[in-house]
Symmetry: C2
């Protein structure tokens, strides 16, 4: 999970949000080959896939794969189940948010692992963030380390020593405003990114993701092009 430059290939888990867009920009500077993988797992914000496509095109990903997994009915969460209300409380209160999706990052990383091994890509890049989203257990460095260790034991490429599989989470210890600062330096087109959980035609401005985004831009002193001028 260090940020040393490397010359191999990677796959970036690209949701279309500001964190994964920043990861893609970061990966483009560090890896010779960059693929992008968007996994739709039945979440409300399918709007993000349009953003993901536009961002992958903008950064010239060698390949962008969009995968639809019909997991919604299997997993209990307010993010995959329209009948559950989105609790509008910022995390950081010590509880795990209602938007937690059981095993979400484990499922995303598992699919990315199969993809990475199939395409000889040694690194999986993920926009996990342990600071602002500290309520999610599968965004913590100790979880990511445990996944990486398991991944090396799981794969033919790992066992044979062909790929030293690595999980890179370049944002894991950054605050949202630090993400905005990094993305800005790397030329992330913020107008193409999408954060809102509510799934409307414009950001709702009230869900966790909208409020974290607004706070990040405000603290970084950067204007969010998606935000209506007050």
């Amino acid at each position: 999970m260090t940020e040393r430059p490397r010359s191999g290939g990677c796959v970036v888990l690209l949701s279309g949000g500001m964190d994964s867009a920043t990861c893609l920009a970061w990966a483009r500077r560090r890896f010779r080959t960059v693929h992008a993988l968007t996994v739709l797992y039945g979440q409300r914000h399918a709007r993000e896939v349009r953003s993901a496509r536009a961002i992958a095109r903008r950064f010239g990903a060698a390949r962008h794969v969009v995968l639809r997994l019909p997991l919604g009915p299997l997993l209990r969460s307010s993010l995959t189940d329209r009948a559950r209300p989105l609790r509008r409380t910022l995390s950081g209160t010590g509880t795990i948010p209602a938007t937690y999706v059981p095993a979400r990052n484990t499922i995303l990383l598992a699919v990315a692992l199969g993809y990475a091994e199939s395409h000889d890509l040694g690194t999986i890049v993920l926009g996990a963030n342990a600071i602002d989203y500290s309520g999610y257990p599968d965004c913590r460095p100790e979880y990511l380390r445990a996944f990486q260790r398991m991944a090396r034991l799981a794969t033919k490429a790992g066992v044979e020593g062909r790929l030293q599989l690595r999980i890179a989470a370049p944002l894991v210890r950054k605050s949202k405003s630090e993400v905005v600062e990094l993305g800005d330096r790397l030329g992330v087109p913020w107008e193409l990114t999408w954060s809102c959980y509510a799934g409307g035609p414009v950001p709702c401005g009230r869900c966790d993701a909208c409020r974290l985004r607004a706070r990040g831009f405000a603290r970084a002193g950067v204007r969010d092009p998606l935000r209506p001028t007050d």
Copy 2:
């Protein structure tokens, strides 16, 4: 990965083969609540799903979910790609078989983990076997332990201590003939199980899975009802 009796709930990954059928029979004796989860990941042997449904019905699983994941085009393997020949060599030669599917068990276990947490089931039961299929890295006990460790860090239920998530692989150290002996004792209806990789209307008798099955029955001295009388 011990076999102590417990009273909680579990989900069994049920492919419809003889190993997972034996696991379901085993789980019915040990857990109060038993769910079955069949994941189709684009493999040739979709025929197995009919077997899985019949077996789940026979053992009275509280719920049987069949999930289709369109992973075939993403993963490179002779099991998911019809253009690749099925190599007909028994494993045990120190190489990983061509039927290896990148991250297969990690993807199956990740989905099962999300399901287990969503339904308050503390154990995931898997028919992984490190003896006859020793070529598969994701069937080894050290891999399963690493997954279990990761799973406890990944989940809200694990972090909050509500579920002590456990991966149970009751067959992991059994030979195929020991699996036949155990399944026979537990009343597994072998005629409902399906092993062949080739996807024809009757078992091909030549693929790895058919040959391992035949050897297992022969060594256990049990007649396989699916085998034509010689």
